[in-house]
């Protein structure tokens, strides 16, 4: 029976997750992980935190004031209204509503004129500033971290791939010597096995599977596979959920707030990649092979946007019944065909 981890469980678990997911990239990840650990350590250490805070405070303030003054005001607005309501008793909603805009104006004025006062107001927001710093390192790690879909989705495909890769390996050993040397070199640098490197170079771009996943529950709303491959429908439901769980885990491990949902957007793999587009009620996750064209992400986003426009209400009220959303699957199949040649 596995023993539960100590307090700071997440870094340990993260290490274990990486173990499962990518043995090959371990070294690269180790370095990045050390960096993250140190960043997390700094976050945990109050004294250090204060020092760091002092360092970046002016910048953060500066940034935030310039870029998000309106948002800050928007956040404060209801709180102030509530405060007034409490002060003046329950029947003073009207008063609060009348005063709120005025106070808002006055706060705006303060923002422009008083740096010191600002500090008080900004305290909760600064936390986010630090998170932002952490997230800079995080991007790299997430990039390296998650060939998970490759593991989970691709079994049957992976088999075919392996055979193909073996064939190519044999070929390389006999013929195209110079080419082979170049590929081997590239493979060494890139840390993939030479056969796979050939594959990555030779593989035409192709969308393998598309998942439309309910953002909160992780339930699978619609799923489409490339005609060329067998349907993974049974696994697809579980994969949708696991993907959502992993996304939550990663976001939490990197101390991300809920406002940054786009963390785990890309999962690289030597043969398969995953790209996730996030919108209000759903994720659109696309598993593909090869190298997509430059406008692939735009196409993905546009497709997702279109689904959202058309099925806005169904997505918002989604409770696990797919019957009102069956047509989405046809859309997704169209999408697979459409981007095939990108």
């Amino acid at each position: 029976m596995a023993k539960t981890k100590p307090d700071n469980g997440n870094p340990d678990r993260l290490a274990a997750l990486k173990d499962i997911l990518l043995k090959d990239d371990q070294e690269r990840v180790d370095a990045l992980e050390a960096e993250i650990r140190s960043l997390r350590g700094q976050l945990a250490d109050k004294q250090l935190l204060v020092e760091r805070l002092a360092d970046i405070l002016p910048q953060v303030l500066d940034l935030n004031v310039r870029h998000s003054r309106n948002e800050i005001v928007d956040i404060l607005n209801p709180i102030i209204a509530e405060g007034i309501r409490q002060q003046t008793g329950n029947n003073s909603d009207d008063l609060a509503e009348t005063l709120a805009p005025t106070i808002r104006k006055s706060i705006e004025y303060q923002f422009e004129n008083s740096r010191d006062r600002l500090t008080e107001v900004m305290a909760p927001i600064i936390n986010d500033g630090i998170k932002h710093q952490v997230s800079t390192a995080k991007e790299d790690i997430v990039d390296a971290l998650y060939p998970i879909m490759g593991r989970m989705v691709s079994r049957s495909v992976a088999e075919a791939m392996k055979k193909l890769a073996n064939n190519i390996n044999q070929k390389m050993n006999s013929t195209f010597r110079f080419e082979a040397w170049k590929r081997r070199f590239r493979a060494r640098v890139m840390g993939v096995n030479p056969g796979e490197a050939v594959l990555a170079g030779a593989l035409p771009f192709e969308v393998e599977e598309v998942y439309l996943i309910s953002r909160q529950s992780g339930l699978l709303i619609a799923h489409a596979v490339n005609d060329l491959h067998e349907d993974h429908q049974t696994d697809a439901l579980v994969i949708g959920s696991m993907l959502t769980a992993i996304k939550s885990f990663v976001e939490d491990a990197f101390e991300e707030g809920e406002e940054h949902d786009g963390v785990l957007n890309e999962i690289g793999h030597t043969k398969q990649s995953l790209n996730i587009d996030t919108s209000k009620y759903s994720y659109l996750a696309v598993v593909y092979n090869g190298v997509p064209g430059p406008d692939f992400k735009d196409k993905l986003q546009a497709q997702h946007h279109q689904i959202h426009e058309r099925y806005y209400r169904q997505l918002r009220d989604y409770e696990g019944d797919n019957s009102a959303l069956l047509e989405v699957e046809a859309d997704l199949r169209q999408f697979i065909k459409k981007v095939y040649s990108v």
């Binding site: 993260l14 274990a16 529950s217 339930l219 579980v238 696991m242 769980a245």
Partner: protein, 175 residues
Amino acid sequence: MTATRIQKKICMLGIFGVGKTSMVRRFVFEKFDDSYLSTIGVKVNQKILPPQENSEHKMIQHNLLIWDIEGFDDKTKPLNNYFIGSAGALVVADLTRMESITSLPTIFETFQAVAPEAKLVLVGNKMDLVDKEAPTLVELTQFAAEGDIAFLPTSAKTGENVEAAFQKLGLLLAD
């Protein structure tokens, strides 16, 4: 008439070692290995329940996505995000350990803060190890009655009531 398939996310809740994973294993055929459970603290399995009639007399069939969630100890705390979007939960206590029962209020509170509408079934697992007068069983029965929560004693070892517990939750989900 064919039944409408409806997916529902449910969570397995309870402190370490009460038998959550064993219950799921009894109930479903597992496809993915457990490494995910020990690393990210959750593993999802799927099980299709038999067709049933819902409150509007429509035939439906629940497809449960069962999130087996690790933790609720002093040492580990599950991510609250794992609870989001749950339609129900099977809360597991261990009839051989009173602390699995005293931990219940915190578990309910934490879960319901995220999923207030979720339907709940409480089970007292490892019934094969205790007799009918066991203080834990008495305590748990009373706890369930006071909170008006559906309750069943189960054994993941013998399989007794395991299926019934999930089906009970299925019934509640159809309301």
